[in-house]
Protein backbone atom coordinates (compact mmCIF):
# COMPACT_ATOMS: atom_id res chain seq x y z
CA UNK A 1 0.00 0.00 0.00
CA UNK A 2 2.87 2.31 0.86
CA UNK A 3 4.48 1.50 -2.48
CA UNK A 4 1.30 2.33 -4.35
CA UNK A 5 1.17 5.72 -2.64
CA UNK A 6 4.82 6.32 -3.51
CA UNK A 7 4.22 5.41 -7.17
CA UNK A 8 1.16 7.63 -7.38
CA UNK A 9 3.00 10.51 -5.73
CA UNK A 10 5.79 10.29 -8.30
CA UNK A 11 3.27 10.06 -11.11
CA UNK A 12 1.46 13.13 -9.79
CA UNK A 13 4.71 15.05 -9.56
CA UNK A 14 5.72 14.19 -13.12
CA UNK A 15 2.29 15.02 -14.51
CA UNK A 16 2.00 18.20 -12.41
CA UNK A 17 -1.30 16.95 -11.02
CA UNK A 18 -2.58 16.65 -7.46
CA UNK A 19 -2.50 13.03 -6.23
CA UNK A 20 -6.26 13.23 -5.64
CA UNK A 21 -6.76 13.73 -9.37
CA UNK A 22 -5.19 10.36 -10.10
CA UNK A 23 -8.13 8.05 -9.53
CA UNK A 24 -7.59 4.47 -10.59
CA UNK A 25 -10.13 4.68 -13.40
CA UNK A 26 -8.78 7.89 -14.90
CA UNK A 27 -7.55 7.46 -18.47
CA UNK A 28 -3.87 8.38 -18.71
CA UNK A 29 -4.40 10.27 -21.96
CA UNK A 30 -6.94 12.54 -20.28
CA UNK A 31 -4.24 13.84 -17.95
CA UNK A 32 -1.91 15.22 -20.64
CA UNK A 33 -2.00 17.43 -23.70
CA UNK A 34 0.49 15.32 -25.62
CA UNK A 35 1.22 11.61 -25.60
CA UNK A 36 4.90 12.53 -25.38
CA UNK A 37 4.32 13.61 -21.81
CA UNK A 38 3.20 10.07 -20.98
CA UNK A 39 6.32 8.59 -22.60
CA UNK A 40 8.51 10.92 -20.58
CA UNK A 41 6.64 10.07 -17.40
CA UNK A 42 6.92 6.30 -17.85
CA UNK A 43 10.60 6.46 -18.70
CA UNK A 44 11.37 8.83 -15.86
CA UNK A 45 9.49 6.57 -13.43
CA UNK A 46 11.52 3.59 -14.60
CA UNK A 47 14.69 5.59 -13.92
CA UNK A 48 13.35 6.62 -10.53
CA UNK A 49 12.39 3.11 -9.41
CA UNK A 50 15.26 1.44 -11.25
CA UNK A 51 13.11 -0.95 -13.29
CA UNK A 52 12.72 -1.52 -17.01
CA UNK A 53 9.58 -2.62 -18.82
CA UNK A 54 9.05 -4.19 -22.21
CA UNK A 55 6.29 -3.26 -24.61
CA UNK A 56 4.43 -6.47 -23.74
CA UNK A 57 4.32 -5.58 -20.07
CA UNK A 58 2.51 -2.29 -20.66
CA UNK A 59 0.37 -3.29 -23.62
CA UNK A 60 -3.25 -2.62 -22.75
CA UNK A 61 -2.42 -0.20 -19.94
CA UNK A 62 -4.69 2.80 -20.37
CA UNK A 63 -5.63 3.91 -16.84
CA UNK A 64 -3.82 5.26 -13.81
CA UNK A 65 -4.69 2.18 -11.77
CA UNK A 66 -3.35 -0.21 -14.39
CA UNK A 67 -0.05 1.64 -14.66
CA UNK A 68 0.34 1.83 -10.90
CA UNK A 69 -0.27 -1.92 -10.70
CA UNK A 70 2.41 -2.65 -13.32
CA UNK A 71 4.96 -0.75 -11.23
CA UNK A 72 3.73 -2.09 -7.91
CA UNK A 73 3.86 -5.71 -9.12
CA UNK A 74 7.42 -5.27 -10.32
CA UNK A 75 8.53 -3.59 -7.10
CA UNK A 76 6.81 -6.10 -4.82
Amino acid sequence: MERVAEIKAKMAELLSQPVDALGDDIELTSLVNSSFVLVEMIIEMQEEFDVRFTQQEVTGVTTVGQLVKVFADRLA
Binding site: S34, S35, F36, L38, V39, E40, I42, I43, E44, Q46, E47, R52, F53, T54, Q55, E57, V58, T59
Partner: protein, 194 residues
Amino acid sequence: MTSEPIDENLRWILSFYRTSEISGALFFGQLARSMRPGPVQRDMTQHFADEAQHAHYWTACLEQLGASALRLGQSYQDQYIMAAGMPVNLMEVLAITQVFEKRVFSQYARHSRLLDLHPVVKKTLTKIMDDERWHIEWIRDALAGMRDDYGEDVIAATLARFHAADEDVYAKTATEHQERIDYLMAHSRRNDSK
Protein backbone atom coordinates in the same frame (compact mmCIF):
# COMPACT_ATOMS: atom_id res chain seq x y z
CA MET B 1 12.68 39.95 -47.39
CA THR B 2 10.54 39.07 -50.43
CA SER B 3 7.86 41.46 -51.61
CA GLU B 4 5.41 38.81 -52.87
CA PRO B 5 3.47 36.83 -50.27
CA ILE B 6 4.36 33.15 -50.24
CA ASP B 7 1.91 30.46 -51.23
CA GLU B 8 -0.24 29.42 -48.24
CA ASN B 9 0.62 25.75 -48.84
CA LEU B 10 4.32 26.51 -48.55
CA ARG B 11 3.64 28.54 -45.42
CA TRP B 12 1.77 25.58 -43.95
CA ILE B 13 4.52 23.08 -44.88
CA LEU B 14 7.29 25.21 -43.37
CA SER B 15 5.16 25.73 -40.26
CA PHE B 16 4.59 21.98 -40.06
CA TYR B 17 8.36 21.41 -40.16
CA ARG B 18 8.78 24.02 -37.47
CA THR B 19 6.17 22.44 -35.20
CA SER B 20 7.78 19.01 -35.57
CA GLU B 21 11.20 20.43 -34.68
CA ILE B 22 9.78 22.13 -31.59
CA SER B 23 8.08 18.91 -30.49
CA GLY B 24 11.32 16.97 -30.99
CA ALA B 25 13.34 19.52 -29.02
CA LEU B 26 10.91 19.50 -26.11
CA PHE B 27 10.66 15.72 -26.06
CA PHE B 28 14.39 15.10 -26.07
CA GLY B 29 14.99 17.96 -23.69
CA GLN B 30 12.65 16.39 -21.14
CA LEU B 31 14.13 12.95 -21.68
CA ALA B 32 17.70 14.18 -21.38
CA ARG B 33 16.82 15.78 -18.06
CA SER B 34 15.50 12.52 -16.65
CA MET B 35 18.37 10.34 -17.89
CA ARG B 36 21.45 9.27 -16.06
CA PRO B 37 24.57 11.15 -17.26
CA GLY B 38 26.54 9.29 -19.93
CA PRO B 39 27.22 9.17 -23.67
CA VAL B 40 23.56 8.75 -24.67
CA GLN B 41 22.53 11.71 -22.56
CA ARG B 42 25.40 13.74 -24.03
CA ASP B 43 24.30 13.05 -27.62
CA MET B 44 20.66 13.52 -26.77
CA THR B 45 21.52 16.96 -25.37
CA GLN B 46 23.15 17.88 -28.68
CA HIS B 47 20.18 16.44 -30.52
CA PHE B 48 17.57 18.55 -28.73
CA ALA B 49 19.73 21.65 -29.05
CA ASP B 50 19.83 21.00 -32.82
CA GLU B 51 16.06 20.54 -33.02
CA ALA B 52 15.46 23.79 -31.17
CA GLN B 53 17.89 25.50 -33.54
CA HIS B 54 16.05 24.00 -36.51
CA ALA B 55 12.75 25.41 -35.26
CA HIS B 56 14.45 28.79 -35.10
CA TYR B 57 15.80 28.33 -38.65
CA TRP B 58 12.25 27.69 -39.91
CA THR B 59 10.91 30.70 -38.05
CA ALA B 60 13.66 32.85 -39.55
CA CYS B 61 13.06 31.33 -42.98
CA LEU B 62 9.36 32.17 -42.85
CA GLU B 63 10.17 35.70 -41.73
CA GLN B 64 12.63 36.15 -44.58
CA LEU B 65 9.89 35.05 -46.94
CA GLY B 66 7.65 37.74 -45.48
CA ALA B 67 5.42 35.30 -43.61
CA SER B 68 4.78 34.34 -40.02
CA ALA B 69 4.58 30.78 -38.72
CA LEU B 70 1.20 29.13 -38.40
CA ARG B 71 0.24 27.73 -35.02
CA LEU B 72 -0.39 24.04 -35.66
CA GLY B 73 -1.81 21.53 -33.22
CA GLN B 74 -0.79 17.92 -33.14
CA SER B 75 2.69 17.21 -34.44
CA TYR B 76 3.72 14.34 -36.68
CA GLN B 77 5.41 12.69 -33.70
CA ASP B 78 2.17 12.56 -31.70
CA GLN B 79 0.62 10.46 -34.44
CA TYR B 80 3.53 8.01 -34.31
CA ILE B 81 2.77 7.16 -30.73
CA MET B 82 -0.89 6.71 -31.49
CA ALA B 83 -0.08 4.35 -34.37
CA ALA B 84 2.78 2.35 -32.87
CA GLY B 85 1.99 2.36 -29.18
CA MET B 86 3.91 4.19 -26.56
CA PRO B 87 7.66 3.57 -26.39
CA VAL B 88 8.23 2.20 -22.91
CA ASN B 89 11.99 2.26 -22.51
CA LEU B 90 14.97 4.17 -23.81
CA MET B 91 15.71 1.65 -26.56
CA GLU B 92 12.16 2.05 -27.89
CA VAL B 93 12.43 5.83 -27.74
CA LEU B 94 15.64 5.70 -29.76
CA ALA B 95 14.12 3.22 -32.22
CA ILE B 96 11.06 5.37 -32.88
CA THR B 97 13.30 8.41 -33.21
CA GLN B 98 15.57 6.63 -35.68
CA VAL B 99 12.58 5.80 -37.89
CA PHE B 100 11.21 9.31 -37.52
CA GLU B 101 14.54 10.98 -38.33
CA LYS B 102 14.86 8.91 -41.49
CA ARG B 103 11.40 10.03 -42.55
CA VAL B 104 12.30 13.66 -41.80
CA PHE B 105 15.53 13.39 -43.78
CA SER B 106 13.71 11.83 -46.70
CA GLN B 107 11.05 14.56 -46.65
CA TYR B 108 13.62 17.36 -46.46
CA ALA B 109 15.69 15.74 -49.24
CA ARG B 110 12.58 15.47 -51.42
CA HIS B 111 11.71 19.09 -50.76
CA SER B 112 15.25 20.26 -51.46
CA ARG B 113 15.17 18.65 -54.92
CA LEU B 114 12.53 21.10 -56.17
CA LEU B 115 14.32 23.16 -58.79
CA ASP B 116 12.38 26.37 -58.31
CA LEU B 117 12.86 26.28 -54.59
CA HIS B 118 13.35 29.66 -52.99
CA PRO B 119 17.05 30.06 -52.06
CA VAL B 120 16.15 30.83 -48.46
CA VAL B 121 14.23 27.55 -48.15
CA LYS B 122 16.99 25.65 -49.94
CA LYS B 123 19.64 27.06 -47.59
CA THR B 124 17.55 26.19 -44.54
CA LEU B 125 16.93 22.63 -45.72
CA THR B 126 20.63 22.10 -46.47
CA LYS B 127 21.70 23.34 -43.04
CA ILE B 128 19.18 21.13 -41.26
CA MET B 129 19.94 18.04 -43.33
CA ASP B 130 23.60 18.24 -42.27
CA ASP B 131 22.48 17.88 -38.65
CA GLU B 132 19.92 15.20 -39.46
CA ARG B 133 22.64 12.93 -40.87
CA TRP B 134 24.38 13.03 -37.51
CA HIS B 135 21.11 12.41 -35.67
CA ILE B 136 20.59 9.20 -37.62
CA GLU B 137 24.20 8.14 -36.98
CA TRP B 138 24.32 8.71 -33.24
CA ILE B 139 21.04 6.91 -32.68
CA ARG B 140 22.13 3.99 -34.87
CA ASP B 141 25.33 3.73 -32.79
CA ALA B 142 23.44 4.02 -29.52
CA LEU B 143 21.05 1.25 -30.56
CA ALA B 144 24.03 -0.92 -31.54
CA GLY B 145 25.44 -0.34 -28.06
CA MET B 146 22.20 -1.63 -26.53
CA ARG B 147 22.31 -5.05 -28.21
CA ASP B 148 23.66 -6.83 -25.14
CA ASP B 149 21.14 -5.16 -22.88
CA TYR B 150 17.97 -5.58 -24.91
CA GLY B 151 18.85 -8.26 -27.47
CA GLU B 152 19.43 -7.76 -31.17
CA ASP B 153 16.18 -9.50 -32.11
CA VAL B 154 14.13 -7.29 -29.81
CA ILE B 155 15.72 -4.15 -31.24
CA ALA B 156 15.12 -5.36 -34.81
CA ALA B 157 11.49 -6.20 -34.00
CA THR B 158 10.99 -2.80 -32.39
CA LEU B 159 12.41 -1.01 -35.42
CA ALA B 160 10.15 -3.09 -37.68
CA ARG B 161 7.10 -2.18 -35.58
CA PHE B 162 7.90 1.51 -35.80
CA HIS B 163 8.66 1.28 -39.53
CA ALA B 164 5.20 -0.17 -40.07
CA ALA B 165 3.68 2.65 -37.99
CA ASP B 166 5.70 5.17 -39.97
CA GLU B 167 4.21 3.92 -43.23
CA ASP B 168 0.70 4.17 -41.77
CA VAL B 169 1.19 7.64 -40.35
CA TYR B 170 2.80 8.94 -43.52
CA ALA B 171 -0.05 7.57 -45.64
CA LYS B 172 -2.62 9.07 -43.27
CA THR B 173 -0.84 12.43 -43.24
CA ALA B 174 -0.57 12.42 -47.02
CA THR B 175 -4.30 11.78 -47.33
CA GLU B 176 -5.22 14.35 -44.72
CA HIS B 177 -3.06 17.06 -46.27
CA GLN B 178 -3.46 16.10 -49.92
CA GLU B 179 -3.61 19.72 -51.01
CA ARG B 180 -0.18 20.45 -49.50
CA ILE B 181 1.33 17.31 -50.97
CA ASP B 182 -0.16 18.18 -54.38
CA TYR B 183 1.54 21.54 -54.11
CA LEU B 184 4.93 19.89 -53.64
CA MET B 185 4.25 17.27 -56.30
CA ALA B 186 3.14 19.90 -58.81
CA HIS B 187 6.45 21.65 -58.31
CA SER B 188 8.32 18.35 -58.66
CA ARG B 189 6.56 17.53 -61.93
CA ARG B 190 7.31 20.98 -63.25
CA ASN B 191 10.95 20.45 -62.43
CA ASP B 192 11.02 16.94 -63.86
CA SER B 193 9.79 18.30 -67.17
CA LYS B 194 12.46 20.97 -67.33
